[in-house]
Amino acid sequence: MSPTTPMSEMSEMTMFTAPAPLPVEPPSGCPFDPPAAFAALRTTQPISKISLPDGSWAWLVTRYADIRTILGDTRFSSDTTVHGYPLSGMTGGPSTRNRGFIRMDPPEHTRLRRMVTREFMVKRVEALRPEIQRITEELCDAMERAEGRTQGGVDLVQALALPVPSLVISLLLGVPYEDHDLFQGLTGTLLSRTVPDDEREAARAELRDYLDRLVTAKEADPGDDILGRLIVEQQRTGELTLPQALNSVRAEGTPIDVAAFAALLLIAGHETTANMISLSALTLMRDPATAEKLRQEPALIRGAVEELLRFHSIIRNGPRRAATADVEVDGHLIRAGEGVVVAVPSGNRDESVFADADRLDVCRPNAQHHVAFGYGIHQCLGQALARVELQVVLGTLLRRFPAMRPAVPVEEIPFRTDMSIYGCHALPVTW
């Protein structure tokens, strides 16, 4: 712009500039706080426009009540093939092929989700608690023997935070844990916000190939695991001659895509919990009074995990929806065909719901009202598993490593502002 441009013209031009992108950077020096812009938006412009990487735009929703309204209303579609769905820059890449059920609406979503809900229900997960505890103790034993403790620190992400949920989800799904370097690496690319879409698509295709080969190999001997049971279900519905009535039901539904199930559950099953573990462990290392309180009263850990989920809100890029009808939300009209991006970290710091919301209070009475697992029919399928993993790992760390502390100044910890799921790329600790 020329330095002689008159002020009136400048302000007019400003009015037509593209909206800002989704805020992702935490405030300087406050790695545990959501982007500062959210607090102002909640007050002044709770539903505002953001630009997406391809130059399109979507509505950004920052208030708790509006987030629940939108995620609870099926007129806001999760189907990524629906007109206006905000695909650009979305978590996991914009491809609409081989969709998992989180990218579908009822009745397909309901039918497919219910094939795996039993696997993650509270009593099934509680039955896994001893096994999760055993895995955690073994990894802690190895950490105690690690030489890194006195040589710059042990990376808690690689030593504990990532292996626990990776081992558990591999075991549940029937994916060989020996392949963890492969699937962890591909998941990392899929969840990056900074790699180009085509690179993410390549990672998606490679993960799909790997899982296709795995599913094909398992078809002969399905095994007593989630993928095995899905393969049996697929064989049952796909190969038997069904009575006419059942056939017509099947004709309405998409065939069961076992590899798409596997990709969804594998990705969702380890990165999320891993990042919650490292962020939560770091928070407790920096808050010795709270750590001591939890050590003295382990019964408080359940509530503490809810509060840590609220406080950290690691999902930093959606969820997203497309409006399929004109819908007014809190006086704001969202038109059919417009995209919506929900700011989970903002909703969970909304002062109208959570008093003194920026403070971590492990005894907060309404902590479980958080939307860290989303809200509505797509709310996290694996939430009971995530809760138990967090309770076990954090409880065990507090008990076995009371003196654990970061081995580097907090400014040197590489936080994941480049990822759809917030956390630490590495967390060097000593004790």
């Binding site: 995620l71 609870g72 309901t110 989700r113 219910r114 094939m115 809900t117 039993r118 993650f120 229900m121 509270v122 009593k123 479980q368 009202h369 697992f373 989303g374 809200y375 509505g376 029919i377 797509h378 709310q379 996290c380 399928l381 939430q383 009971a384 809760r387």
Partner: protein, 64 residues
């Protein structure tokens, strides 16, 4: 207090079971909510209201 469910809407998140395990359970085949006590004693009322408020699919209806 009287509780009714619209179980068709249930997405089996299981939050009600965590909050009020004496009132809610999940059925074995698909994790969909099951009511153990449709008229729970007063000691359970706060937990039931909390479960209804948190349920992501608004399945639980509480009648005074």
């Amino acid at each position: 207090m009287k509780i009714t469910l619209d179980a068709d809407k249930c997405c089996a998140a299981g939050q009600c079971v965590l909050i009020a395990p004496e009132v809610f359970d999940q059925r074995d085949e698909d994790g969909v909510v099951v009511l153990l006590d449709a008229a729970p004693p007063a000691a359970q009322h706060d937990a039931v209201r909390e479960a209804a408020a948190i349920c992501p699919a608004t399945v639980i209806e509480v009648h005074a």
